[in-house]
C-alpha cells in the first residue's frame, strides 16, 4: 500500500512489513520470558511503548502478551521494566536470533 502523506512521499509500511525487513533465525526456546501475572499489576507498561520490535501487547483482560521471536536483543524491555523480575532476559542460542544484513 502506498500513500502520500503531507509533504512526504515514501511508501508507508505496516509494522509487519517493517519487522519483516529484518532477519530473525528463530529458536524453539524463548530467550525472554515475561511473567504475565506480575504484568497484570503494572501501571506504567513502558515496555509496550518502548520495545522497538513491538513485542509486548496488552490483552483485554489486563495482561501482557509477549512474543520473543522478532526480538532485536537490545535490552530495552528489562531496563524500562519497573517490576523486579517480570522479565527474565537472556540471549538466544548461538547462531539464532537477529541477524543484521551484510551488503
Amino acid at each position: 500500500m502506498t500513500s502520500i502523506d503531507r509533504d512526504t512521499s515514501w511508501p508507508e509500511i505496516s509494522f509487519e512489513e517493517r519487522i519483516g525487513t529484518a532477519e530473525f533465525r528463530i529458536h524453539e526456546r524463548a530467550h525472554i520470558v515475561v511473567d504475565g501475572d506480575t504484568c497484570r499489576g503494572c501501571s506504567t507498561r513502558e515496555c509496550v511503548i518502548a520495545c522497538p520490535a513491538n513485542l509486548f501487547v496488552p490483552t483485554s483482560d489486563g495482561g501482557i502478551l509477549f512474543n520473543y521471536e522478532n526480538c532485536f536483543e537490545c535490552g530495552t524491555c528489562y531496563m524500562v521494566c519497573n517490576k523486579e523480575g517480570a522479565i527474565s532476559w537472556s540471549y538466544p542460542e548461538g547462531g539464532f536470533g537477529i541477524v543484521f544484513h551484510r551488503t
Binding site: W10, R45, P52, Y91, I98
Partner: protein, 433 residues
Amino acid sequence: MSDADVIVVGAGPAGSCAAIAAARAGRRVILIERGPFPGSKNMYGGVVYPRILDELVPRWWETAPIQRWVVRRSTMVLSETGALTVDYRSNAWGEPPYNGATAYRPDFDEWLSRQAVAAGAQLVTSTTVTGLLRDASGRVTGVRTDRPDGDLTASVVIACDGVNSFLAKEAGLYTATDPSNFTLGAKETLALPKHVIDERFGVRDDQGVDIEILGGTSGVNGGGFVYTNLDTIALGVVLKLPKLAAQKKRPEEIIATLKAHPAIAPLIEGAEVKEYSAHVIPEAGYSMMPTMVTDGMLVAGDAAALCLAAGIWLEGVNFAMASGMYAGDAAAAAVARNDVSTKSLSAYSDRLNATFVLRDHKKLRKVPGLVLSDRVQQKYPAFVTSVVERVFRVDNPQPKPGLRRIVREERKRAGIKLSQLIRDGWTGLRGFG
C-alpha cells in the same frame, strides 16, 4: 592445561582487536561470537573513526569494507518546522589517511574478525557464552557456553560482550543498571540509487555525509542522525530510556515524524525501508563505567560503557577498538609473567587512563548529561532556531531589531532564565574543555 591463554567473548570491534593484540603477542586465543558471523548482532548510529587501527592494521583503508568516507559533517538543530545546520566540508577527509567512514557493521566487524583469525586467533561463531567459570578464590578461569560440554578454560577472559554485558555484571563489576544511563537507537536503512544520494547530499564517488541532529525526537530526550552509505541512507533516532514511554509514541513513530520534518523529507523522498534495526547504547560515559579489571578478567568496548555521546562528538567503535587492543596487550603480558591477578592485569586500566580512551571520557564527563538534559532537549532547539529565524527574516519597512533584543525576547518566549542559560553555557564551555 587450559583450553586457551585468552578467551575473548564477543567478536565486535573490541573483541576482534583484543584477539589480534593477544594473538600477535604469541598467546593462544579463542574468540567467541554468539551470532552466525561477527557483526550479525551489531548496529550503530553512524560513523567509524578507524585512526586507532593504524597500529594494528596498517593501511586498513585498502581492505576495510567502507561505504563512504565522510567529507561533510553536519550538526543540525531542529524545531518543529525550522532547521539550523552547521556544516563543515573537507574533501581531504575523502583521501588517505582519511578520517571518518560509514560502513555496515556486519561487513566491518566481520572484516576485523578476519584480521584476528589471520593473527592466529581461533574464531568460534554461533556460540553463546552463558556464564563465567571461577575458582574457589573467585578468580575467573573461563566461560560456560551453550555448546554440549561447552566449558572453556583460559588464563584470562576478556569480556567484549556488548552493552548488556552479563559477564561484567556476573563478575560484580557493575554496581547497578540505571536505565537513565542508556538510550535506545532505532534506525531505518533506506534504499536509494547512488546518483540520487550523490545529488541530494552534494557528494560524488565514495564521498559521504554525516548529519547529527538535536531536536526532532517528538519531545523524547535524545537525538537523530542521517548518514549516507553507497546506495542507502541510514536514518534513526536515539531515545533516552526512562523518558521514552512518557510521550506515548513508539520508536518507529518517532522516526516517522523525523522523516516528515521539512528539512529531512526531501533527503529521503522515495526511499524504501531496506532494514529496520535497533540497539541499546551506553550513553552516560564516564559516570556509568564499571570496574575494568578483576582477577582473571578484563572488560572492553560497550561492555565497559566506552561509548562517547558528547553532543558534537559521537564515537564508540574507536573506543571499542582501542580498549580491546589494550586489553589484549595487557592479557598477553599477564599470561607471559604467569600472573593474572587484578594487580598484574591493571596495566590495562593504567593504559586506558593514559590514552584518549579515558582521557576523552574524563574531560567530557559532564557533557552527556548536559546534552540529554531537559533544557537542552526541550527548550534550546526552539530558542536557537527562532533567534536565527528572526535574524534572517527581513521585516521591512520595520528596521532590524538588535541581536540582543532578539535573544532576550526569544529566550523569554522559550521560558529559559538568563541564569540557567549562563550556567548551561558555562557547563558546556568547561565540559568541552
